[in-house]
Point group: C3
C-alpha cells in the first residue's frame, strides 16, 4: 500500500516535469496536460502493452489520471506566483525514476517473464516517459546523455530482480533496497557530476 | 454508416497533411506514404492497442489502407500542377480532428471503459497521428502549441461522453453535436486567433 | 533455421547502428544500450503489438537481448581502437533491412492477416527501428529521405507476399528471392545514387 502512494508520488513528479517542459515551449494548458499525461503514464503504458497486461494500469485505476490532471492545474496556477527551484525538480525526478524502475520490474516479474526481461521492463518504465517528453520538446532525451540516468534505472531494476530470487527478505525490504540504489546512484551522479565513459564517435569517422 | 464515410474522410484529410509534410522535407514517394499512413492511422492504432481491441481497425477493414495509398498518390500527382491552399488544409484538418476525437470516444465507450478514459482516448485518437507526423518532421507538434487544438478535441470527446449518458437523443445526434463542438471551437480559434492562456515558463527560472 | 541466424545478424547490424548513433551524440554506455535495443528490436516489437502476437518475440527468446547487449559492448570497446568504415555500415544496414522486411511479412502472414497488411507490416518491421533511432538523435529519419529505403523494404515484402501465394517454390526460396530484391534495390540506390522522384512542396505554397 505504501508503494502505491510512492507510485502516485512518482506520477506527480513526472506530471510536473512534463507540464513544465510544455511551459518552456509555450504550449497551452491542454497541450501541457497532454505532455504531462504522456510523461507520467507513458512508460507504464508501454510496459503494459509489451507485457500484454490488460487493462492498462490507468484504465483499471482512474486515480492515475486524476493525479496528473490535478498536478498540471496546480503547476499552471503556481507558476504565476513562484518558480519551482530546478534543484528540487531534479531530486524529485530521481525519486520518480527509482520508484518507476523498481515497481516496473516487480510488475514484469509478476507477469511471469524471465529476470532479464523484467530488468529491461523496469528500466523502460523508468525512462520511457521522460524520453517521449524530451522528444516532443525536440531535444535529445536528457536520459540518453552522460549523467547516469538509464544506468541508475538499470541498477535498481537489476538489484530488485536478484533480490526477488531470495526468500530471506520481505517484499517491502527488496523494493526499498533496490529503489534506494537507483536513487543514491542518481543523486550521487548529480551531486558529483559522475558519469560513465562517454560513447564518443567522431562524426566524420565511422 | 454516414459516420463510416466521415471517418474515411478524416483519414483522407490526415493522409494529405502527412504526405504534404513529407513533401516539405523532400522525402520520396514511399517515404511520404509511410508518413501518410502514420498520420492517418496512428492515432486509431494507439487507441486500439491501449484498449486491447483486436484486430486493429485497419487490419479488419482494408479500406483504410487503400484510402491512404490512393490519397498519397493523388497528392503526389496534383502537387506538380497546383498548390493546395493552406487555408483549405487547415479547415480540412479541423474536420478530421472533430471526427476522430468523437468517434475515438465512441469506440472507447463501446469497449466498456469509464467515461474519463473514453474522453482521453478520444482526444488521443484525434491528436496522436498529427503529433507523430510533426515529430518525424522534427518540429514541435503544432497541436501542442497555443491554438486550441488538443482543447477542441478534449471538448468534443467530453461532450460526446456526457451525451452518451442521456437516453433522450439518438446516437447520430450525439455524434453530430459533439463533433460540431470540436469543429466550431477549432475554426473559431483559427479565425479569431483564439488561444488559451499560455503555460509560460522562464527558461532560466525553474 | 538459417533464417533465424539471418534474423540475429540483422539484429546485430541494427544494434551497431543504434549504438554508433548514440556515440555521435555523446551518450553514455547505457544510453547507447537503450538506443541499440530500440533500434534493433523496435520494429519487431511494434509489429508484434499490432498483430497481437504474445509474448513479444524478444520475451519468448532471450537470445535477441543477449545479442544486442554483446554487440553494444563490442562496439564500445572496438571504437576506442578503430573506426568502423561508413561504407561497411551502410551495406550491413541494407542486409538488415532486407532480412527484417521479408521475415516481418512472413510472420504477419503466419498470423493470418491479409496480404496487403502483411506487406505493410514487413515494411514497418524493416524501417521502424531505424526511424525511432533517428528521432532520438533529433534528425529526420534517413529512411524517409530520397534514397529508396522504405521503397526497397516495400518491394521485398510485396514480392514475398506474392510468392507466398504460389506453391511452386519452397519457403526458403521465397524468402531468399524476396530479401535479395530489397538488398539489390537498396545497394543499387546507394551505389548509383538512385532515387525516386522527390515529393517536393514549396514551404510557402500549400
Amino acid at each position: 500500500m505504501l508503494f502505491y502512494y510512492f507510485d502516485l508520488a512518482g506520477v506527480i513528479v513526472f506530471a510536473i516535469t512534463g507540464s513544465l517542459a510544455a511551459g518552456k515551449k509555450h504550449m497551452d494548458l491542454f497541450g501541457a496536460l497532454v505532455l504531462a499525461l504522456v510523461t507520467a503514464l507513458g512508460g507504464g503504458t508501454i510496459r503494459d502493452l509489451i507485457l500484454d497486461r490488460t487493462p492498462i494500469f490507468w484504465i483499471s485505476d482512474l486515480t492515475y489520471i486524476y493525479v496528473v490532471v490535478v498536478a498540471t492545474f496546480i503547476v499552471f496556477l503556481v507558476k504565476r506566483y513562484a518558480a519551482i527551484p530546478r534543484k528540487t525538480l531534479i531530486y524529485a525526478d530521481a525519486f520518480g525514476l527509482a520508484i518507476f524502475s523498481v515497481l516496473g520490474a516487480q510488475i514484469a516479474l509478476q507477469q511471469g517473464v524471465p529476470g532479464l526481461v523484467a530488468i529491461i521492463m523496469g528500466m523502460l518504465t523508468g525512462v520511457a516517459g521522460g524520453m517521449i517528453r524530451d522528444l516532443f520538446r525536440i531535444e535529445i532525451p536528457l536520459i540518453l546523455q552522460h549523467e547516469i540516468y538509464a544506468t541508475a534505472a538499470l541498477a535498481g531494476a537489476s538489484v530488485y530482480v536478484v533480490l526477488s530470487e531470495l526468500t530471506v527478505f520481505d517484499e517491502p525490504v527488496k523494493l526499498i533496497v533496490a529503489a534506494s540504489i537507483t536513487l543514491v546512484l542518481r543523486l550521487a551522479a548529480i551531486k558529483w557530476n559522475l558519469s560513465l565513459p562517454v560513447f564518443s564517435v567522431d562524426e566524420n569517422n565511422h
